[in-house]
């Protein structure tokens, strides 16, 4: 089908953001990333343009052959900056890769639950994403896909060090297991810093997904393993899950506590958030993330009636690149804020 340039990127939400999964009031999604390299090729950081193209094509040939996964190739040289940034906002492309062009591709399936980057820091960065708390499922899927590729591609592997990667921080399993978390309770109770301090001891990383400060905007965080070597994939996932279990129960407990102790204040915050989103004439990007987060919390408390999917749709579709792509071209930040406010006013009119 001939698509015009505006519709090359699917602006719909991936099924992993749309659907509710296990514990999805706290765990938004689960993600498994595997890093793999071809044994006889230079790593992307040391490959010349021609070599990059060859590697990209070799990978394309194998990936596109697996018809059942329905992967579609997007050559980064053929996407414009807005399209690439839109994929970053959809969490399907790394920021690093969005700055690149020739000899690199990203492969997506229709549900947007698989994202495979070629010639990122490693030849292959494969991501498998599931809604809610589903690290095991995502790992099973990733591993069997990896097995399929293994039959066709000669992966760089060493008996002692495992899968060889460009950076020693990914060595061994090449596995980065992560969960996206919504922790408004712990944020409102001021407990995030304490949590941050204790997580490092478990070989895990915890960081905010939006914003630049140490207190993440919208209380959306990512928890992932730091160590990739010396433990099996299952062990890495298990230890992540056990810390996750703690965070989850703390978050749930805290949500109940703050509502019991600070009911008027918490309700006021949530309804003010709704008021601003429904009526603001101009909305900054991070401000809207912060406010949507409160609506999500309000929804979990049952005091705001709105579908979860709608909130995530608003969250993603009002990110800067999405807004501009929907608008059909680049917009200065002030105009984006007007556009963003307009979308919220329209979409939340009935709430």
């Amino acid at each position: 089908m001939a698509n015009d340039s505006e519709s090359r990127i699917d602006l719909e939400l991936g099924s992993w953001l749309k659907e509710e999964g296990k514990s999805s009031e706290v765990v938004i999604s689960s993600r498994i990333r595997l890093a793999r390299n071809l044994s006889s090729r230079p790593f992307p950081n040391r490959a010349q343009e021609e070599a990059l193209k060859d590697i990209d094509d070799e990978i394309a040939e194998v990936l596109l052959e697996f018809g059942r996964t329905g992967l579609k190739r997007y050559n980064l040289a053929e996407l414009n900056d807005l399209e690439k940034l839109t994929l970053v906002e959809k969490h399907l492309l790394s920021r690093q890769q969005s700055r690149e062009s020739g000899g690199r591709s990203v492969y997506l399936n229709e549900e947007q639950t698989i994202s495979i980057m070629s010639n990122e820091e490693d030849h292959l960065r494969m991501q498998f994403i599931a809604p809610g708390e589903e690290l095991d499922t995502a790992w099973q899927e990733a591993s069997s896909f990896d097995d399929l590729l293994d039959e066709r591609l000669d992966f760089a592997f060493d008996r002692k060090y495992g899968y060889l990667t460009a950076c020693p921080t990914n060595l061994g399993t090449g596995l980065r297991a992560s969960v996206m978390l919504h922790l408004p309770g712990l944020s409102l109770a001021g407990s995030i810093k304490k949590l941050l301090g204790s997580i490092g001891k478990f070989g895990l990383t915890f960081r905010g997904l939006y914003g630049e400060g140490s207190e993440a905007e919208g209380s959306i965080y990512q928890l992932s393993n730091q160590v990739t070597l010396g433990r099996s994939e299952e062990e890495i996932i298990e230890s992540l899950e056990s810390v996750l279990g703690q965070i989850k129960s703390q978050e749930k407990k805290t949500r109940a506590e703050i509502m019991a102790e600070r009911e008027a204040e918490i309700k006021d915050r949530i309804f003010r958030a709704l008021g601003v989103l429904k009526h603001a004439y101009s909305l900054a990007s991070m401000e809207s993330v912060r406010l949507i987060s409160l609506l999500l919390l309000g929804r979990c408390y049952g005091i705001i009636k709105i579908e979860r999917e709608k909130l995530f749709k608003l969250l993603i579709k009002t990110r800067p690149a999405h807004l501009q792509l929907l608008n059909g071209g680049s917009l200065p930040p002030e105009e984006r804020d007007l556009k963003r406010a307009e979308i919220f006013r329209r979409e939340l009119a009935g709430v």
Binding site: F43, N45, D158, G197, S214
Partner: protein
């Protein structure tokens, strides 16, 4: 407070990163903060190469081997050891052989471990799955003996023996 990155403007963004029990602070001006990765508490100052250089410079003092290694480069891709420590990235899979002398030290520092114990490509090491299976069965066997469930233990012993024979056969081929 002045920005840690450009050293010129007033720092407005303050970040704290706690990793492995160590706390690091970073103070940036608005502009440098925006330039650093938007996705949270990462920035150049905490980038892996910088930290790796830190690890290596600590180890280098007084080490003859490290001094020697500075002259090394990878025969396959030409990356020098010096470049590796500056960028924190290997140039090809052969680099792991070329810089083998220093690797255990680096890997131990970065990963807290020296050897892989996870998945193995099936076609390259067909025996690996069986070896893992034996390990698993042995653990169960010990458990059963401890619990004095000797009937199950005997079954497990036979199963282990059978797999070991299969492994021995495939070695002979």
């Amino acid at each position: 407070m002045i920005c840690d990155h450009c050293g010129e403007k007033e720092a407005h963004v303050h970040m704290t990163r706690i990793s492995g029990g160590e706390k690091q602070e970073l103070h940036l001006c608005q502009k440098c903060a925006e330039k650093s990765d938007q996705l949270g508490i990462s920035s150049d100052v905490f980038s892996f190469p910088k930290m790796l250089s830190g690890i290596l410079s600590k180890s280098q003092s007084g080490s003859k081997q490290m001094a020697k290694s500075e002259q090394l480069s990878c025969a396959n891709c030409g990356l020098s050891y010096q470049e590796f420590t500056e960028r924190g990235l290997f140039g090809c899979s052969q680099c792991y052989d070329s810089f083998a002398d220093n690797l255990d030290y680096i890997v131990q520092k970065v990963q807290g471990s020296k050897a892989h114990s996870g998945k193995v490509p099936r076609d390259k090491f067909p025996d690996h799955q069986l070896t893992l299976k034996i390990k698993e069965l042995r653990e169960e066997l010990e458990q059963m003996v401890r619990e004095e469930k000797y009937e199950r233990a005997a079954e497990l012993r036979d199963e282990i023996k059978e797999i070991e024979e299969r492994l021995a056969d495939s070695d002979g081929e």
